[in-house]
């Protein structure tokens, strides 16, 4: 009898321990393929640093695409992956301080009580002048252009205000004369990603082709001056140390710098992925604000429209028509949306003619002032890209206007160059981008490196990008709760949100899997945050 119980107990124990087992455990097939991820280093700019919502914060950095990649690399022999310390960003506000003075805003959030994006309340605790003097696996430096990676003044805190150094790199440069690439090489990379070049055109584009504001001359806002930023493919200037902040890098300079970077990264046999420069015209920063936001209501109704047509649009139309440009400024419609009035640096200058026509009625001084204001004015067309931040400027009074009669931005006063990327400017950007990408491809091919075509990916976003799960994502700027879950861009309109970085990571993983015969799992973007919303701010 007793034996019976014992047998039964053994039987029970046997079955209880027989837990379900898979034929193949989840990680059975994961493999690094031909790649060696033991020391992975990421080179790049803000897109590599985990920049989103207008800044890098402690949390945003945790969603950088290199850190998401490294999580998967860790499954197949990837080593430790370090990123610049944001431990000082205690409250996850982002922003930047230099000597206690803010030089970068806190991260953008949606304030639900106001229904709009705002920098989150609070003061940044990220101090640029506390050097970490450490090389990290993530060497993405927000704002870096291609040639910055080779600059030995880029990490010098003294160069932050003059603009030749980068506050983000200053924070972790090993020495004041370190280069980004040099610091990266101290990690002895066995595998790298290199996504550099977007800023070589992007700052020009986001700046609307205008100059950047120089912080050393606080009394003057250079970005509002008529002088445009330079396209060094046109100037032929090959010395990047002389480039302005918003200038387009000469494609030969880019190719030369890119070669140096890749030759350096691969000199010890490292493999890697290079990413192409995305098409900037697909990002919400340029696609959110329409060229024709001026509804009849916004213009104050038909009485106002008639007055504007009689006093301003009619005369301008007559003058431009007289010089063969009848469509440059047309009468405002009282029934349909109207385009904004813009300053086009590349337009034919009619200031003298305008002055001449207006002098008899307005007198010489006023007519001259009007001529100055409208000499390069035109109405925007559907091919112009109005930058995101212009939305807060259109329809507001312009302080530098010579007369309150013509002081409404975009209506009676042309929007400054910086607010619009005209077709001419877009062409400079796209030509430069194409040149860069062709350099990237040929240099990558010469080294047998994998290429992640971010240009193609971003272009898909303009329509709709369908990912593995069947989920469809778009490049729409955040437009409320209904779209929150399908938005891949952060509130700055330029950088992805965490979910967007997950999608980018997946595209790079697919490239690695294909090119290096690896098998790495993807991230599911649905589980990554999109837009940050707070109840009140």
């Amino acid at each position: 009898m007793k034996n019976k119980f014992i047998y039964l107990a053994i039987l029970a124990a046997g079955f209880a321990s027989c837990e379900p087992e898979f034929e193949n455990e989840v990680n059975a097939e994961y493999s690094a393929g031909d790649a060696d991820f033991s020391s992975y280093v990421a080179i790049g700019n803000s897109l590599t640093a985990g920049y989103m919502d207008g800044t890098v914060s402690r949390v945003s950095q945790s969603y950088s695409y290199p850190s998401l990649l490294a999580r998967q690399f860790a499954l197949v022999g990837g080593g430790e992956f370090t990123q610049p310390s944001y431990a000082d960003d205690v409250n996850n506000l982002g922003g930047l301080m230099l000597g206690g003075i803010p030089i970068g805003g806190t991260r953008l959030v949606i304030d639900a009580s106001q229904g709009r994006p705002e920098p989150i309340a609070g003061t940044s605790t990220i101090e640029v002048s506390n050097p970490q003097a450490t090389a990290y696996n993530n060497m993405g430096v927000p704002g870096a252009k291609s040639f910055h990676l080779l600059s030995n003044t880029y990490g010098d805190v003294a160069g932050v205000m003059p603009g030749y150094a980068n506050p983000y790199f200053v924070r972790h440069a090993i020495t004041a004369s370190s280069t980004v690439l040099g610091d990266a090489m101290t990690k002895n990379p066995t595998f790298f990603t290199n996504w550099i070049g977007a800023n070589d055109v992007l700052s020009y584009a986001t700046g609307g082709g205008a100059l950047p504001d120089n912080p050393l001359t606080p009394s003057v806002d250079e970005s509002l001056l008529p002088t445009p930023a330079a396209d060094h493919n046109a100037t032929g200037n090959l010395d990047p140390s002389t480039y302005g902040g918003n200038d387009i890098t000469n494609a030969n300079v880019y190719a030369s710098v890119y070669s140096t970077i890749i030759n350096t990264l691969t000199m010890n046999g490292a493999k890697g992925v290079v990413a192409t420069v995305p098409s900037v015209t697909s990002i919400p920063y340029f696609t959110t604000v329409p060229y024709n936001p001026l509804s009849p209501t916004a213009l104050g109704g038909s009485a106002n429209i008639n007055a504007l047509n009689a006093q301003l649009y009619g005369p301008l139309n007559q003058i431009f028509s007289a010089f063969g440009e009848p469509n440059r400024v047309k009468l405002l419609s009282a029934t349909a949306a109207n385009p904004i009035l813009i300053y086009d640096a590349d337009a034919a200058d009619r200031s003298a003619q305008i002055t001449a026509v207006l002098t008899p009625t307005l007198g010489a001084p006023t007519a001259t002032a009007f001529g100055m204001v409208f000499g390069k004015a035109r109405q925007a067309t559907r091919d112009d890209l109005v930058v995101l931040r212009a939305s807060g400027v259109i329809g507001t009074p312009n302080a530098s206007s010579p007369s309150t009669l013509i002081n409404i931005n975009g209506v009676s006063y042309p929007m400054a160059n910086k607010w619009v990327l005209t077709t001419t400017e877009q062409l400079k950007v796209s030509n430069a981008t194409a040149s860069y990408n062709s350099s990237i491809r040929s240099i990558a091919a010469s080294k047998g490196l994998a290429v992640a075509d971010m240009n193609a990916i971003m272009n898909q976003l303009v329509g709709a990008l369908r990912v593995e799960t069947g989920q469809v994502y778009t490049a729409n700027y955040f437009s409320g709760a209904a779209t929150e879950g399908v938005v891949l861009f952060s509130l700055d309109g330029v950088h992805p949100n965490a979910r967007g970085y997950a999608v980018i990571t997946n595209e790079i993983i697919k490239v690695i899997n294909r090119h290096y015969n690896a098998n790495l799992p993807l991230h599911n973007p649905s589980y990554f945050p999109g837009i940050n919303i707070v109840g009140s701010n």
Partner: protein
Amino acid sequence: MRKLLSLTLLALAGSTAFAGGYRVSIQGQKQLAMGHTGVAVVNSAEVAFFNPAGMAFLDKKFNLSVGVSGLFAETKFQNSQYNWEASTQNVGTPFNIYATYRLNDWFTAGLAVYTPYGSSVEWDQDWEGAHLVNNIDLKAIFFQPSISVRVGEHFSFGGGPILAMGGVNFNRNLATNPLLSVDGQPADVTLDAQGINAWGYTAGIMFNPTDKLRLGMNYRSEIIMEARGGDANFNDIPDFASTDPRFQDQKFDADLPLPAEFTVGLSYQVTDKWMLAFDYNRAMWSVYEALTVNFENGTSSVNPRNYQNSSTYRVGTQYKANDKFTFRAGWYFDESPVQDGYFAPETPRNDSMGYTGGLTYQLNGKLGIDFSFLYLHFDEVDNSYNHYSENGNIQPFGGTYKSSVFSPGIGITYGF
């Protein structure tokens, strides 16, 4: 049919998840050991559950069977596309009490109390499938007074009402999107409905054309578990959504159909010592098209289930070695009512095969001790639930599931 409840109550959940729990039939140690056959087996008071008609054929005037099992269920989940792994281990203790009393030559009364739905599923909180289910705990007790009437030597009929008393507690996250979270804690909802009572009935006939052959047929009615005024409690709702009427703690109503089940079977006494039994169950699961949860604020959540009628094929045998020992074994094949694309982690249930065994040790003429075990084998399955949506986008959730269930049980049989 016990499976029904677990499957349906889950649904209560209100999410896009579908119902769950294990469809494990453990309603008697002797019959479980025989593959849970029993519609045409007259062994003990357990027949009060399997086919009340059979109570009239019990030899003894009074019969009592009491049993309890330890139910150990484990499911593993993985998804190699995203490197996901999760598992759930759960323990349940289904029990049963059956008593019959022969009032006269042709009339027998009985009472059956059993717990057809006592299982639970508990994944790691905030695991990848948390938007479908974090955990569910389902309990139900059935009370079934019955009568059995014998008509002549060969035929009987019987049946009785069923009072089902149950409750369910279910928790899931509101979304995969971390937007709905507070300090990294995803927003979730707990649906709790207790004290749900519902009525149904069971009825059966038994026919013994020869000394050796019994035929049985049993029908258990559909039972609609109507949860009224359950509590929906929301946790970790971020401040921007805190005034959203959808996320206020409130009451909810939901109807849970427990489908009808029809069983036919036979048993054959091959020799004095050796018996074979076969049962066929058909569960009318197609009634469960969707789970609809109506919230107090006027919104409702409609969650497709699309269950299909399913069959279970059972075979069992019993060998009475001597006065002291009787040995039993059985096997069954249990079709899942869950269809491809509707496979959710509350009921990670594909088709399964049950292997059963057991024995009775008869202490004396009145008292015996019953032992049983059940091992339920599930093949590894790749499947997904494709009817959850967020932001208007269908968001499938799936991977590879592998389950197993083991359940040892013990009981006593007493009669005179």
